[in-house]
Amino acid sequence: MVNYKRFTLDNGLRVLVHEDKSTPLVAMNILYDVGSKDEDPSATGLAHLLEHHMYGGSLNIPEYDKPLQLAGGENNAYTSNDITNYYLTMPSENIETGFWLESDRMIELDFSQKNFDTQKNVVIEEFKQRYLNKPYGDAMLMLRSLAYKVHPYRWPTIGMDISHIENTDLEQVKRFFFSYYAPNNAILTLTGNITYDLAYRLSQKWFGPIDKRHILCRNLPSEPAQNEERVQTIEKDVPVTALYKAWHIGSRNSPDYYTLDLITDILSGGESGRLYNKLVRGKKLFSKINAYITSDIDPGLLIVHGKLMKGIKKEHAEDSLNEVIKSLQNPSGIKNDMKKVKNKFESSTVFSNTSILNKANNLSFNELLGNPNLINQEVNLYRKVNPDMVIEACRRYFIPSNCSTLYYKSTRIDK
């Protein structure tokens, strides 16, 4: 049980506090309700570029990292399609430095041209390192734009194209910051060795005086239902052929979210997953195979991807994959698998909640979804999934007209 208390400052900042005295550390998480989905389609990658700019000093503090390290702290951040999330851990006696740093960069950044130019280069190198210079690094970029035609999930957080980052100017980053970074668009969570009273006092002191800002109203185009199968083939100089498939599913808050999560766990939760057993260990068609849901807030995807073994025809591999998916609708055997993945979900939750950082992260995200107590309810929601719900979800989502397939073919002769 993760106990927490919650309050809201006058300026709209929501604060959650969970006390855990078993650690000498405090974790601080600040979630901004803005992600790459809020970007202009002609200037993508902005949310993530701004995340980098956040480390270049703020209104009153010339450097972010040095004072943090001086206080024994460590931090990081990530941007997703939905959110931008910053977190740090600190020895509890120095946590006020965290409040000081995070509140100041919520007010305003040091928008220096030099910092902007450097971070632009860093992000361009990140784009190359993670997406272009690695075999299959761009596969997910292609799969997204195949599956989504309208919704901004069609581009990845790094940006649709490297030229978008190259063409961004400082003014755009500035405008993006003032449109979305504000107490009334953020969630602050503190976990670990901190009392509620101290968290309350420090939140008031450092975040209380920050003014509310007008937040741009989110008005995203919804993705129309897909009604025909989509297939794309790409040929590249990679060592083996890979197969990617994506089916549209509902939003994070939709009732069958946990059913779909459970389905992907049955398919590929570890080495006892069905896909691994049947297609890697059994038929030896793939060297690796994986299935998961994207867990996006807006309607997301269920993705299966694998790398083929040498000499295996992609049609054969794909038919066999579809058979395994079909087998989910067969009630015999499903009960045992369900019991197994439910136990595993429960223990994963126990392990995850031993980390104050995970707890801070999850509490923040659940608050954004509208229910922080999800952190304590998820195991039950997952346990409630029954075989009928699995069959129903399979019938609804695993249909060819709802699917996008990417063949990432190797051009090598000896493949």
Binding site: S22, T23, P24, L25, I61, D65, K66, P67, Q69, L70, A71, G72, E74, T89, M90, P91, E93, N94, E96, T97, F99, W100, S103, T118, Q119, K120, V122, V123, E125, E126, K128, Q129, R130, L132, N133, K134, P135, P209, D237, V238, P239, V240, G269, G270, E271, S272, R281, S287, K288, K307, M309, K310, K339, K340, N343, S347, V350, F351, N353, T354
Partner: protein, 427 residues
């Protein structure tokens, strides 16, 4: 006026000295050493079985790693699928792992399933049957993974780097090639297992919320096994770095190059090691390090650059790693040497010393936070015949090290003429 109080950092308190819980050392009835670390508030545990069965013991590439990976591919009483299914069913997680010196098995489990997991561990470790079919398919899979990994400039650069500094004939350095995947047979695995996965070659580290029962159960499943003498012969090959200190591997079509610069160095047993760790942090060991500040935060040449010092049984090594666009590759390399020279000549400013002292002190708290971190930290000194007093020495060194000592260490351990330089990418 609201901004005035925002200009000054709130008071920073020196990080309290970390309290490291005692590690209890006991022996099972047949002498197996067990290290017990009681910590944590949840009913969970980390259970690790360690053998001196790492790459150092292999006389053929892939032998140690394949022997380790085959442990869970079927035993006398369970098929591979059954082992994995049972582990999942009991909500446990396990990792088989092989490093250069040691290999083993780690379980993370809910305390209530301890019996089942001990029974499974016993099967996996001491009754594997290494089915021929599973071995054949594992080697085919591993070859595919290998081919994909070799396409990544950073993997290739690391392989070439270790071959350069340790030599192609030593297990620390030899590079795997495609043909190696055809050489491993069931007989070789069987032989490797019977030599090195033995009772007198085994150590257990258990951490979590434990009780008396834990040790009783360990005794029940492992304390009655008979000891047979292990042959502890390692390959006998000598560590011998290559004569060529500067290697470029051409990989066409790559838009970034991977860079590795480093050399063999002292390991944890050496009294200078804590000081070297601190020097390494200043150079490239954390986000505020010189290399990050210069090459990422000032010049924007790379997404990341870091340096690290690592310990092995026979030696240690230090390495600086980065990936940069090919246009900036040489400039980056020049800057790396420049930063090393600066550390050898110019005293580190007080302020920077303070930052790095406090940063590492904070890191040390994280290293001992919770039962899993505690076990990892203990293991990484135990492996060198040391104990947690190593961390006291490190803490002391953090407090007392001064600018002169940093210069001295930089001159002794970062002799530029001794550094190897590996680049992989297109020219």
């Amino acid at each position: 006026m609201i901004n005035n109080f925002r200009r000054i950092q709130p008071p920073v308190f020196p990080v309290e000295k970390v309290v490291i819980p005692e590690t209890l050392s006991i022996r099972l009835n047949n002498g197996i050493p067990v290290y017990v670390i009681e910590a944590g508030t949840e009913e969970i545990m980390r259970l690790e079985f360690i053998f001196r069965a790492g790459q150092i013991m292999e006389n053929l590439p892939l032998l140690a790693s394949t022997s380790n990976m085959m442990l869970s591919e079927g035993s006398e009483n369970y098929s591979s699928e059954e082992i994995n299914r049972a582990v999942d069913y009991y909500g446990a997680f396990f990792n088989l792992s092989v490093k250069r010196d040691r290999a083993g098995l780690v379980f993370f489990l809910l305390n209530k399933h301890i019996k089942k997991i001990l029974e499974l561990s016993h099967e996996i470790l001491f009754h594997p049957v290494f089915p021929e079919a599973e071995l054949y398919s594992l080697m085919k899979k591993r070859l595919r993974w290998f081919l994909v990994n070799r396409e990544k400039v950073q993997n290739l650069a690391s392989d070439v780097f270790f071959e350069s500094i340790f030599g192609m004939d030593h297990p620390y350095g030899h590079q795997v090639i495609e043909q190696d995947f055809e050489m491993i047979t069931r007989a070789l695995i069987y032989d490797f297992h019977s030599k090195y996965y033995t009772i007198d070659n085994m150590t257990v580290i258990v951490s979590g919320k434990l009780n008396k029962k834990t040790i009783e159960l360990l005794n029940f499943y492992f304390g009655g096994l008979t000891v047979n003498k292990t042959s502890n012969e390692s390959t006998g090959n000598l560590l011998k770095g290559s004569e060529i200190k500067n290697v470029h591997v051409n990989k066409k079509g790559k838009i970034q190059s991977a860079v590795r610069i480093g050399s063999p160095t002292i390991n944890k047993r050496h009294p200078d090691y804590p000081g070297l760790k601190i020097l390494d942090s200043i150079l490239g060991g954390y986000f505020g390090s010189r290399l990050m500040k210069n090459i990422r935060e000032d010049k924007g040449y790379t997404y990341g650059i870091s340096s690290s010092v690592s310990s092995l049984d026979l030696t240690g090594y230090k390495v600086i790693s980065t990936e940069v666009s090919k246009e900036n590759c040489q400039k980056t390399i020049d800057e790396i040497y420049k930063e090393i020279r600066l550390l050898q000549r110019i005293p580190v400013e007080k302020e920077e010393m303070n930052v790095v002292r406090n940063y590492i002190s904070g890191e040390m708290i994280r290293m001992f936070d919770g039962p899993f971190a505690l076990a990892e930290s203990f293991k990484s000194v135990w492996e060198f015949g040391l104990d947690n007093t190593y961390y006291n020495r490190l803490a002391e060194k953090i407090k007392t090290i001064d600018q002169d000592e940093i210069i001295e260490l930089a001159r002794t351990y970062y002799n530029i003429d001794e550094l190897y330089q590996v680049t992989v990418g297109s020219k």
